[in-house]
Symmetry: C2
Subunit: 127 residues, 2 copies
Amino acid sequence: MSDPLLDAADFTDDGLIPAIVQDAETDQVLMMAYMTAETLQETLDTGRMVYWSRSRQERWVKGQTSGHTQTVEEARLDCDGDTLLFRVHQEGGACHTGFRSCFHRRAADDGWTTDGEKVFDPDAVYE
Amino acid sequence: MSDPLLDAADFTDDGLIPAIVQDAETDQVLMMAYMTAETLQETLDTGRMVYWSRSRQERWVKGQTSGHTQTVEEARLDCDGDTLLFRVHQEGGACHTGFRSCFHRRAADDGWTTDGEKVFDPDAVYE
């Protein structure tokens, strides 16, 4: 069955499309991950962010282990259709290392410097 | 010569890394494009966003034709080192179609619906 949202999305040869995730409350960019057509469809249908893990080669429901789920507030597509932007409500932290955002390192003269604050203890969350 | 910023960046087999671009003033996500090690180095050295065009297979200085340059306010790297986030000062619009952001389409029941406002006339800018 054809879906106008899915049809406009341009997937790579690997069948993936990058999805940027932005905090709907603070506008902070939280992470970027990849979706297949199937996990994009599931995300749009359920309002819960579902990705494709390239390292594990499997469907990945954000927050299934950690409880740090992402609820979709808004989905956007860029001009050439090859990148998605989701504005979400983020429970806890988006980053598996315990930070709110995966982008917790900032360029400085001597290298990338962590300036984010940890919002949870990964050792307690991922047993 | 080794550079700690470049060394931490994880490029794909094609030698590229995605760069998310966020408006430093409004926090709006403007676009995503790709960089090589060379254009990332040039971006960090000059403070002006320089990409690699995958379609044209060439270095691409943002704003060289349109005047809609991007000046780096802050560069960030994600936890696994394979995605960059730049907070920039954007002149004019980031999107070649005339919108401030490339993400000017929002998911609606009947498909992707444009809800951004045009900030320039692309016919006048790209002759």
